[in-house]
């Protein structure tokens, strides 16, 4: 990746302060999303991927969140240095989010057209574009077409309760596309839906990346989805990125003990073998391990692991943060 990626998170550290206790949620998280690429951020529940996502979008409330270091660069500019207003200007316009649960992410008491119209109206205002009602309707219909929804007129007049889950998810994506964003962040796309519908949604996202040149950052805990769609993957554990690389490489040859354990957990259809989990649980973020955060659960841990490991390059474009990489060749 020679040019500056569209989104670059560099050594981001975030603490959460509640009731006098400080939880060190993110520690030096770094990731990149170039344009025209589908990047996945993968990890188990509670590993901090949602926090990362919200930090990028600027949705974290400070307090209780506190930024302890690092940068989030979008299109070259450090988002953390921008004012609230400037960040708000970017939201929904240059960078958009697709929410996870299509049932609860749409306001039940307004029509789809109403909601999309509002979003577009205020986005236009921030972009200093002026569209009248007719033009807005046209844009809404256009976007609904992009997500392959037939009969945009009927959809506009409908209330969320009248539509199926799959349709609602498409609408959420359409909402994100209204102002032609350059970065799309998808939070667990399709998890709330059945597998078939989820596959369609993922296909749709894929098409959007290729056809419209979007940068897509997908947040998920589902490795199967990552393998199917993503170009590049960042694996997160307990607030740190432990491994990253092109999807096929990481899946073929995971190098970090955590990634390896994760892959081993996926039940295989052939070859037998019992279902395995990973012993132990996520650390207490208010008193995390001083060094590598996976150390308490790691079968390869040694005393060196009490110091935080940096990322070592293991292959072309792939790196892992571990002192014991020689053991995972």
């Amino acid at each position: 990746m020679s040019e500056e990626p569209l989104l670059a998170v560099e050594r981001l550290s975030i603490d959460f302060e509640t009731e006098g206790r400080v939880a060190h949620i993110l520690r030096e998280v770094s990731l990149e999303v170039p344009a025209r690429r589908h990047v996945a951020l993968v990890g188990e529940s509670g590993c901090g991927k949602s926090v990362t996502m919200r930090a990028i979008m600027g949705l974290l409330t400070t307090p209780p969140a506190k930024f302890r270091g690092g940068e989030i660069r979008f299109d070259g500019a450090n988002l953390l240095r921008l004012s609230g207003r400037e960040r708000e200007a970017l939201r929904g316009t240059a960078m958009s989010m697709v929410f996870q649960d299509p049932t609860s992410s749409l306001n039940p008491v307004f029509t789809i057209g109403d909601q999309m119209g509002s979003i577009l109206k205020y986005a236009d205002r921030r972009l200093k574009r002026s569209r009248n009602a007719v033009e807005r309707k046209a844009r809404i219909a256009e976007v609904l077409g992009q997500v392959r929804m037939a009969d945009p007129e009927r959809i506009s007049r409908a209330y969320p309760v009248m539509l199926s889950g799959g349709m609602r998810q498409r609408i959420l994506i359409a909402m994100a596309l209204l102002s032609e964003p350059r970065l799309l962040i998808a939070d667990e796309p399709g998890t709330a839906l059945d597998v078939t519908t989820q596959a369609q949604i993922l296909k749709l996202l894929r098409e959007l990346v290729e056809a419209r040149g979007l940068a897509l950052l997908m947040i998920t805990h589902n490795l199967g989805v990552v393998r199917e769609s993503a170009d590049h993957v960042f694996v997160m554990y307990a607030g740190c990125v432990v491994e990253q690389g092109p999807t096929h490489a990481v899946f073929a040859k995971p190098r970090h003990p955590y990634t390896r354990a994760l892959m081993a957990c996926i039940p295989k259809l052939s070859g037998g073998g019992a279902m395995r989990g990973i012993d132990g649980s996520l650390p207490d973020y208010s008193a995390p391990p001083p060094g590598c955060r996976f150390e308490p659960r790691c079968p390869l841990a040694v005393s060196a692991c009490l110091k935080a490991p940096p990322h070592f390059e293991v292959a072309q474009g792939q790196s892992a943060a571990c002192w014991r990489l020689e053991a995972t060749e």
Partner: protein, 341 residues
């Protein structure tokens, strides 16, 4: 269509409630020990007069027959004859009904106009000083006896500061206001009678404040809780993620779904509102149904009492039906699924 079925069911429920109410109040009234006819006429009336009154009122019939009469009368909108005034209760009530209706309507308007914004601000400012002040106000509204508040207001604004009238609906000896709806505020405006409007408003002010204290607090509290609940919903964060400006987000996006619980509570509160109206009307000598009711109770005028209770019940039932309709308007989920969310 579902919504229509829903409404039909609610109307039927209301009818059931009214029937049940009529039976209940009838039984209570007739269970009374003593002779109502004798009491109405006083100790010096002759036995014959008492007997005549009994026949006239139908008191000599069996209980079921009496109830039948009552029920049939009700169905026709006839509430029987007052023991005291010997006039149809209907007439007596009609005069006083409008006064109470006006007071109650204004109270509801105040409760919403002040309560909802307070609740919204308290929710947005959660745990801040505004929130705590609103909470304090709500508590005081809830624990202040309405008659005490009425008395205090009367003394303060009326006698001490002399800025507002303390009794009645209009200044005595003022020119007659045409009786179109019976609601003075409306009638005076329809006639372009601004002086009369102002007069009626001034008289309404204190009783309405006294009456609305409790309800406004309740509405504020419920609105606050409801807004906080809505704020936790995903679609609110989604709106933020899409860059919808805060003011719009709060007042349009959040308020509309949050509006349903206050409305529902208002429907339920109606019963205690009418109860409080009794006391407030008495203090301010408001010529409303409540004071009529109290007087008829003190005079043991049973038919009048039954009439007042039935009308109160009707009030309540109509209020709740209105709430159901309004909820359907605001929340499409109710409309489409045909039931309370």
């Amino acid at each position: 269509m579902e919504f229509v079925y829903f409404l039909i069911r609610r109307v039927l429920w209301s009818l059931l409630v009214l029937i049940g109410l009529s039976i209940t109040i009838f039984l209570i009234a007739r269970v009374m020990p003593g002779d109502p006819a004798r009491m109405a006429l006083g100790p010096r009336a002759s036995q014959q007069q008492v007997q005549d009154l009994k026949v006239k009122m139908g008191l000599n019939l069996s209980l079921t027959e009496q109830y039948e009469r009552f029920a049939v009368g009700l169905a026709h909108g006839d509430l029987g004859l007052s023991f005291l005034t010997k006039r149809p209760v209907n007439d007596d009530i009609r005069e006083t009904f409008a006064a109470t209706l006006e007071l109650v309507l204004v109270t509801i308007v105040i409760a919403f106009a002040i309560g909802v914004p307070l609740g919204v601000v308290a929710a947005v400012n959660k745990d801040g000083w505004i929130d705590n002040s609103v909470r304090l106000l709500t508590i005081f509204g809830a624990v202040m006896p309405s008659f005490l508040l009425a008395l205090l207001l009367q003394v303060l604004a009326g006698y001490v500061l002399h800025i507002l009238p303390t009794t009645g609906r209009i200044t005595p000896d003022s020119p007659v206001i045409a009786n179109i709806t019976g609601l003075l505020l409306v009638d005076t405006l329809l006639k372009g009678d601004l002086a009369g409007f102002w007069d009626a408003l001034r008289h309404l002010f204190l009783p309405a404040i006294a009456l609305s204290a409790v309800t406004t607090g309740q509405i504020a509290r419920i609105t606050r809780a409801s807004m906080i609940d809505v704020a936790k919903q995903d679609y609110v964060e989604a709106a933020r993620a899409f860059g919808v400006p805060d003011a719009v987000r709060i007042f349009k996006y959040m308020l509309r779904p949050a509006f349903v619980p206050p409305m529902t509570i208002m429907g339920l509160e109606f019963a205690s509102l009418i109860g409080n109206a009794f006391v407030v009307e008495l203090v301010f000598v408001w010529p409303g149904m409540a004071s009529y009711g109290v007087r008829s109770i003190l005079q043991k005028d049973l038919n009048a009492l039954m009439g007042v209770v039935m009308i109160s019940g009707l009030f309540f039932v109509v209020a709740n039906l209105s709430v159901d309709v309004l909820v359907g308007v605001v929340d499409p989920r109710v409309r489409i699924r045909g039931m309370r969310a």
